[in-house]
């Protein structure tokens, strides 16, 4: 996701750390390079300029005198500024406790609106709401069909009419919601260009008709400099309440999130990071900022684990990581969790310090099976005390698990690396905040 950006930041930060002091010169070098990184990450030109200016002001100001290392200080300033740019707190969507909540989804063509509607419906349903999907995209061939298929797969009703009148569909969906006893309408609109005045009028009309609690603007995370133009135009005409950032499972740097957030001032509420209907995350600005800095997000990793496993187990894991009591039993448990949680690559990006390292790594999902086999071939004692794994034991384990001794060695090495990583993290604070 933002690993590229992270790795570049890492590089710069390494350059900066280890130098005795921030001098005007080395900060200005770094800032110039950051400007370049941000532009390469599709952050809008003007936003980049402002960002670099504000960071440079802070770096040159009083705070430089504080007795921390220059690298830490600069890192902190970047982080803080990124958080400010991204919005300081996470915001959830407005749901009416009583009556029907109406949510409306708008955006450009191909940004991922329909898929997001399916994801949101699934999410709300799992939270006990009774969503109704409304298909108001009467233009794109088979868009309605697509929503119907999505609705069916998650057992959520879909309202559509065989007419070419999106306004009427919106209007009638509200009565229908009452009839079928749904409490949340998710209205999918057609993709449209912000310069297409007829289409923009249609979408503002629909908004007037249903008077939604929330309008969500869906944007492709790969969008370039133009992101600010479309977001601005949509915001001026439809006044949306939140932003949904899609296709974050790709390797786009996602700089447009920074641009849009800072230009329209609306919060980013959701992140879509996969094609499956549960690939939906709530957006946390500080997490994205730390992710950009390559510091990762162990918090969200633990949280994700909590969602799917009982809290005790998650707490135990967190405790073990905190106390640096990682052993092969925990490791095996983690692997099993990871397997249930989804793709490894998306999870690895969240682990602090790994962002930069796994950039080019191809994740072989089958490797997990081998790892499991290896750990299963260890004795209880070996799992608890990995230090006792000598040559003879490793040979036996390799035979027992049907792997090679190299495989076993590699695993032990990875395990040790991970232990060191957690030790380092614990030293600097568990939340990965420096």
């Amino acid at each position: 996701m933002l690993q590229d950006l992270s790795s570049k930041f890492d590089k710069i930060l390494k350059k900066v750390t280890g130098q005795g002091k921030i001098t005007e010169k080395n900060v200005s070098d770094t800032l110039r390079e950051i400007r370049r990184i941000l532009l390469d990450a599709d952050v809008n030109f003007k936003v980049t300029k402002d960002f670099v200016e504000s960071v440079s002001q802070k770096a040159m100001g009083q705070e430089v005198l504080v007795s921390v290392t220059p690298g830490q200080l600069l890192t902190k300033i970047f982080f803080d500024e990124l958080v400010v740019l991204l919005g300081s707190e996470s915001v959830s969507i407005t749901l009416n406790p009583a009556g029907i909540t109406k949510l409306m989804v708008v955006g450009l063509q191909g940004s991922g609106k329909t898929t997001f509607c399916g994801k949101l419906a699934k999410r709300l349903k799992s939270q006990g709401r009774k969503p109704l999907l409304v298909a108001a995209d009467i233009y794109r061939p088979a868009a309605i069909e697509q929503l119907k298929i999505l609705g069916k797969s998650i057992d959520v009703p879909v309202f559509s009419l065989d007419i070419k009148d999106a306004r009427k569909i919106a209007q009638e969906s509200m009565d229908y919601a009452k009839q079928v006893n749904c409490d949340t309408i998710i209205l999918d609109t057609a993709g449209r260009l912000h310069v297409d005045q007829d289409m923009m009028t249609e979408v503002t009309d629909i908004k007037k008709i249903i008077n939604p609690e929330e309008v969500l603007f869906v944007v492709d995370s790969m969008t370039g400099q133009d992101a600010v133009n479309s977001a601005k135009a949509f915001n001026e005409q439809v006044a949306f309440d939140g932003i949904v950032l899609t296709k974050m499972d790709g390797d786009a740097k996602g700089g447009c999130a920074l641009s849009i957030r800072s230009v329209v001032g609306k919060p980013i509420k959701f992140i879509c990071n996969g094609e499956k209907l549960d690939a939906l995350d709530v957006f946390y600005p500080d997490r994205l900022a730390s992710r950009i800095l390559g510091k990762g997000d162990i918090v969200s990793l633990v949280e994700k684990a909590q969602e799917q496993f009982d809290e005790d187990e998650a707490a135990e894991l967190e405790e073990k990581l905190r106390k640096n009591q990682l052993d092969f039993d925990t490791f095996l448990k983690q692997i099993k969790m990871i397997k249930k949680m989804g793709s490894i690559s998306s999870l690895l990006g969240m682990i602090p310090g790994l962002g930069a390292q796994i950039k080019d790594a191809q994740i072989d999902e089958k490797a997990l099976v081998r790892v499991e086999a290896i750990i299963n071939s260890m004795t209880k004692e070996e799992r608890k005390k990995p230090k006792i794994l000598n040559g003879g034991r490793r040979k036996r384990i390799a035979r027992g698990s049907g792997t090679s001794i190299q495989d076993v060695n590699r695993l032990v090495k990875q395990f040790n690396d991970m232990q060191q990583l957690f030790a380092r993290m614990n030293k600097v604070g568990f939340k990965g905040r420096f």
Binding site: R36, L39, D40, A41, D42, N44, F45, L108, Q109, G110, S111, G112, Y139, R140, P141, A142, A143, E145, Q146, L147, K148, I149, L150, S153, L193, H194, V195, D220, M222, T223, G224, Q225, D226, A227, N229, S230, K247, D249, G250, D251, A252, K253, G255, C256, E275, S345, Q362, I363
Partner: protein
Amino acid sequence: MKLFKNLNFDKLKEGLTKTREKIVNRISETIAGKAKLDTEILDEIEEVLLTSDIGFETSEAIITETKKRLKSVQERTEPVIIQAVKEVIEDLLRSSGSSDDFQPALEKHKPFVIIVVGINGAGKTTTIGKLAHNFKQSNLNVVIGAADTFRAAANEQLEIWAKRAGVEIIQKGQGTDPSSVVYETIQEAVQKKFDVAIIDTAGRLHTKMDLMEELKKINRTIKKVLPDAPHETFLVLDGTTGQNALVQAEEFAKSTPITGLVITKLDGTAKGGAIIQICHKQKYPIRYIGIGESIDDLQTFSPYEFVEALFS
């Protein structure tokens, strides 16, 4: 035989108006009253290029080249500078093999097999509908293979386009192996002597290894029936995409040999400058541009007209 006419040049112009105005205004503002091509002016031109998604390196390269060409020029007036920038960009576009009169070599192969690939939401299916329509208008028999068996209703969407274009379509249910659709399409194209077979593939992020492997498999499947096919592989890029377009081109090329690019959604305010970067760094020719949702809104790309529309 000219299949595509650039009938909608005005539409492209219209779409790019904002860019054009911006660039011209900025450049005019910058150089008005100044006869010298100083660093400040070039910095501002660079800014204009950067805000068009042309990217850091390519912008720098354009500036450097412009400087070089203007070195011996005495009269550095506004039109001279703009003309120089235009020429540099046009040369960049042409250096990738992009030409004003691209035609697929349809007469050389029968069936002529085209694969269309790209990430989710780039506009593949729409592009295929438009391509099929254009071929059909030239009295060619076209069959489309619906190998996007993943996305909900992808089949239905393509079917509607096929109907609009009046061409054949081969499809199977959602979730079937795309290669089997491909195989059937090519078989059908050979047996029934179709002129053109176009394969639609599922949108895939270039970071998904398994899906990229699937593309390789589709290629192998085609070769089983027709060893010299596919004859064209078009990568569809969303014109609003920023720097990631470059990565997409690079990554897709690893799984399937890209022969040309199609840039969509150029009827908005996006500048599509990322394609200039791709031409600069990767040398894939741009073949078509999409400038709207109706069936006629596909044009043959022309470096000259693109740059003219950008600056005129």
